[in-house]
């Protein structure tokens, strides 16, 4: 039968971006182990409303581990301790009765807190806007099968494209670097034939944009450990190689004009 847990939560509360913020302690009693972590927070919020207090704001939407909206540092770990799992897919059966759980927002300079546990991750969008696309206007595509894509390239590209843009990699990184995210986005496009013509230009602009927001990578590998989609560190190496090549190739091209 389903077990029930009694837990203590220490939750970060912050009344907007200019408030310094603080921890509040809440009792979470009678939590079913079949519940997800966010359903547990729903219950706390119901209690807060009952007590005429302001509920905790947290980001979430699909609750299926695919939209990348949910976040949270749970006991100091991005998306909690369960490997390859987003917070929305983390279930309470992974906790023990009597546990104290510390819940904080993703912390990074590039992810300012909006309110409570909600942060602003729009710097990721700026990286995409800097070149994370293949320029092909609607209607300009030729028949899809005219461009065969070797299955291996397609599969590896997919492994990279599986990134959900959640930002756990940044939150987990001691330097708040966004190498894992950016390299995943780059590898998705740089590995396949369709992405070749803009490959080096894209690499340079995306990496440069990344660096204006985020810290530098010092190869801790914490990002990969925290990543709910287990994006491989190999993509960072791939990105670094493409970046070096880009510096040469793009300069050469520029010299021709």
């Amino acid at each position: 039968m389903t077990q029930e847990l009694n837990l203590t939560l220490q939750v970060w509360r912050q009344d907007g971006s200019s408030d310094p913020g603080h921890f509040e302690t809440y009792a979470a009693n009678g939590i079913s182990e079949d519940m997800s972590f966010l359903e547990m927070l729903d219950i706390i919020n119901e209690q807060l409303i009952e007590d005429e207090q302001v509920p905790i704001e947290f980001d979430h939407d699909c609750r299926e581990g695919i939209c990348g909206t949910c976040s949270l540092m749970i006991n100091g770990q991005a998306h909690g301790h369960e490997k390859a799992t987003t917070t929305c897919q983390l279930h309470m059966r992974k906790f023990k009765d009597g546990d104290t759980i510390v819940v904080e927002p993703f912390r990074a300079r590039a992810f300012p807190v909006v309110r409570d546990l909600v942060v602003d991750r729009s710097s990721f969008d700026r990286i995409i806007e800097a070149g994370g696309y293949i320029s092909i206007n609607t209607g300009a595509a030729s028949d899809a099968n005219l461009t065969p894509v070797p299955k291996e390239a397609a599969d590896t590209s997919f492994d990279a494209a599986a990134c959900i843009g959640c930002g756990a990699c940044v939150a987990a990184c001691p330097n708040s670097a966004a190498q894992l995210f950016t390299s995943a986005k780059l590898a998705h496009l740089n590995l396949i034939p369709q992405g070749q013509s803009q490959r080096f230009e894209r690499t340079e602009t995306m990496v440069d944009t990344m660096e204006t927001f985020f810290g530098s990578c010092t190869n801790h590998g914490e990002c990969h450990e925290a990543c709910p989609k287990e994006i491989s560190l190999d993509f960072i190496a791939f990105m670094n190689r493409d970046y070096v090549k880009a510096k040469v190739k793009n300069r050469k091209l520029a010299g021709q004009t």
Binding site: P55, H91, Y133
Partner: protein
């Protein structure tokens, strides 16, 4: 007499779209930049439309309540997208996809629209592949296809179990390119609260900034609503938590007819709820039905574990009743049959609220590795949620609400009954009739956004060259902003005792019980008395702590739930008036001897489109007659 003009072009169905494109007025490339278009919603439909319109030169303002376009609910689509490419040489064609979609929709959609959809389906695949969408490929590097949800040809393109994610990333990236180029002004965490009209024509919108609560106006020459479906009126659904009807509904209140609200789709393969705090239901891709066998114990209240129940004491009810299609019958048929056996008391699991989906035979036949390679991520997801290992014990599944075919009425140009206001994607009612086939929503959203709206919008705009947008200082905007403030203040000042979620959950129960998988006159009448009672309580007893000048998700939900109340009433009315069964709308009074949906083509081969008459009056029902010249109406049979 109908006031609805569907503007379906004349001529043979296969030539209508071609002819229409030719006769549509064009906006000269240099003049496009003189038009401003507001696109609300940046899911598949909205992102593809905003990107394509901007590429054409229009000035686009795009809005989403999400923090990034990449979060839209489209991201969750798993199974795939149809395209009549016939790459597999198994006899598929535009005509066959057209035919299957009209038939699958139980003859309640427009032939002309569906044919256009089938025609452009092939372009979508090309476009997406060129954008770098990593569709599944065969060893030769060419695209792979599978058969999906009741189709007898393999026309579904897929990207592992994450087709929606990958297609949305493609559309989002195309949009990001236009944002960077300055062609699209993107407003995230911004919610539409109202559509604004001047002299009967859409001239802009009123929004709320979800971070600081600011209410603002935006004007444009046209407004496009790409705001998704309303499945969350049921509270528990496979939709993302924030999916809602607000944009469509506020447009409805301003004059956009709302069509076929009772056409909602139940998905047969979801994980059953585990307790009352369940916040949403998780879909298990329908592709699982290709290899899984569905059964329940023969005996009532059988408490044995599935492995202890021998084969001859199991009822593989779909295989038994539908030998030709077996476990692959369409969604509505599979769903209703699951309900029947669960209602009989043969349900499985602690709450007896599911049926088994068993991979034992497939594992024995193909080996665990083969099954893992096909469905590995789905099996992991199932285990993660339920704590049960589906390689060892059958999955438990039950139907859940998944998609809404009804929506804002649009003509062939995708314009609503408000001139200048368009609706695309799941938000409109267009192409799926009474039942949507698997892998067809992604197709429709992208068809509308990439290949239909960008042409059809010019027809109306071309004649308006030189017309300025209405200034946001105009009194029409001030009035709409004042109304938005009033509603917000009203919510904040109720000071009752119950949370928004409580009301939403209670509403959802009524809607699921009476306007769910099976509807009866009696139940619908009950719904029509219970919903208004609960609605009244909502307006009296809602408690909304916090401030309207900050991020306040309770306030966001309150607005959405208020609209769900009004929508739910209209769903009940629509279901009550539609005295027939068709597709997702099953009236128990109208069934064949075999328990199948019994259509009444003589009286109901039409679209019901409802006109708003003010908060205190019931909407007026209008009819758009449907004519079938290319597909003969037959009783669906999957025997």
């Amino acid at each position: 007499m109908t006031v609805l003009d569907s503007k379906i072009p004349s001529g043979p169905v296969a030539e209508k779209w071609e002819n229409h494109k030719f006769s549509t007025k064009l906006v000269n490339p240099n003049n496009k930049r003189r038009f401003e278009i507001i696109v609300v919603g940046t899911g598949l439909a909205g992102a593809s439309a905003a990107a394509s319109l901007s590429e054409l030169g229009y000035k686009v303002k795009a809005f989403t309540f999400h923090d990034s376009p990449r979060r839209a609910h489209s991201i969750a689509a798993q199974g795939g997208i149809n395209g009549a490419k016939n790459y597999t040489n198994d006899g598929d064609s535009v005509h066959r996809l057209f035919y299957d979609t009209v038939k699958g929709g139980d003859y309640r959609s427009r032939e002309a629209n569906v044919h256009r959809l089938a025609e452009v389906s092939v372009n979508i695949i090309d476009q997406a592949a060129a954008q770098g969408v990593p569709f599944a490929r065969e060893y030769g590097g060419l695209l792979d296809n599978r058969s999906f949800g009741g189709a007898q040809v393999s026309r579904t393109f897929y990207a592992r179990g994450q087709t929606g994610q990958q297609l949305l990333l493609g559309a989002y990236q195309a949009l990001a390119k236009q944002v960077a180029a300055g062609g699209v002004e993107l407003h995230t965490r911004t919610e539409l609260l109202d559509v604004v009209l001047k002299d009967g024509r859409a001239c802009g919108i009123v929004t709320r900034d979800l971070v600081n609560g600011e209410v603002a106006s935006h004007s444009g020459h046209a407004v496009v609503l790409a705001t998704g479906g309303y499945g969350n009126v049921y509270y528990l659904s496979t939709n993302a938590m924030a999916c809602n009807v607000t944009a469509a509904w506020r447009a409805h209140r301003k004059g956009a007819f709302f069509a076929n609200p009772c056409y909602t789709q139940i998905h047969p393969t979801c994980i059953p709820a585990s307790d009352e705090f369940q916040s949403k239901l998780t879909l298990m891709s329908e592709s699982l039905r290709n290899d899984g066998r569905i059964w329940v114990p023969d005996a009532f209240d059988d408490t044995r574990s599935p492995s202890e129940i021998p084969d001859n004491e199991r009822d593989y009810y779909l295989e038994r009743k539908y030998p030709a299609f077996g476990n692959l019958v369409p969604r509505d048929v599979a769903s209703r049959n699951a309900k029947t056996v669960v209602d009989q008391g043969k349900g499985v699991g602690t709450l007896k609220n599911g049926v088994y989906l068993d991979f034992g035979a497939a594992i024995e036949r193909d080996g665990e590795e083969a099954v893992r390679s096909k469905y590995g991520n789905l099996f992991d997801m199932y285990e993660n949620i339920t704590g049960e290992n589906p390689y060892q014990t059958p999955m438990r599944i039950y139907p859940a609400i998944h998609y809404t075919m009804g929506g804002v009425w649009v003509d062939y140009n995708l314009m609503t009954t408000i001139p200048g206001c368009y609706s695309i994607g799941e938000a409109n009612f267009s192409d799926h009739g009474a039942n949507r086939l698997g892998a067809s929503a992604l197709m429709q959203g992208l068809a509308d956004g990439y290949f239909v709206l960008p042409y059809t919008i010019g027809d109306d705009l071309a004649g308006r060259l030189g017309e300025p947008t209405v200034s946001t200082d105009d009194p029409v905007f001030a009035e709409a902003e004042a109304a938005a403030h009033d509603q917000i203040n009203r919510f904040m000042s109720i000071g009752g005792t119950r949370s928004v979620d409580w009301f939403h959950r209670e509403l959802g129960k009524i809607v699921w019980d009476y306007i769910g998988m099976e509807r009866t006159k009696e139940g619908l009448e009950k719904a029509l008395s219970e919903i208004p009672a609960l609605e009244e309580e909502f307006w009296k007893d809602l408690r909304l702590p916090g401030s309207a000048a900050t991020l306040n998700s309770g306030l966001e939900k309150a607005g959405r739930v208020a609209d769900f109340f009004e929508l739910a009433k209209l769903m009940a009315r629509d279901a009550l008036d539609r005295e027939e069964s068709c597709g997702g709308h099953f009236r128990a009074e109208h069934q064949t001897e075999e328990g199948e949906a019994q259509r009444d083509d003589e009286n109901f081969a039409h679209v019901a489109a409802w006109e708003w008459n003010g908060t205190d009056s019931v909407q007026t029902r209008h009819q758009e007659e449907l004519t079938f010249e290319n597909v003969a109406l037959t009783q669906r049979s999957y025997k």
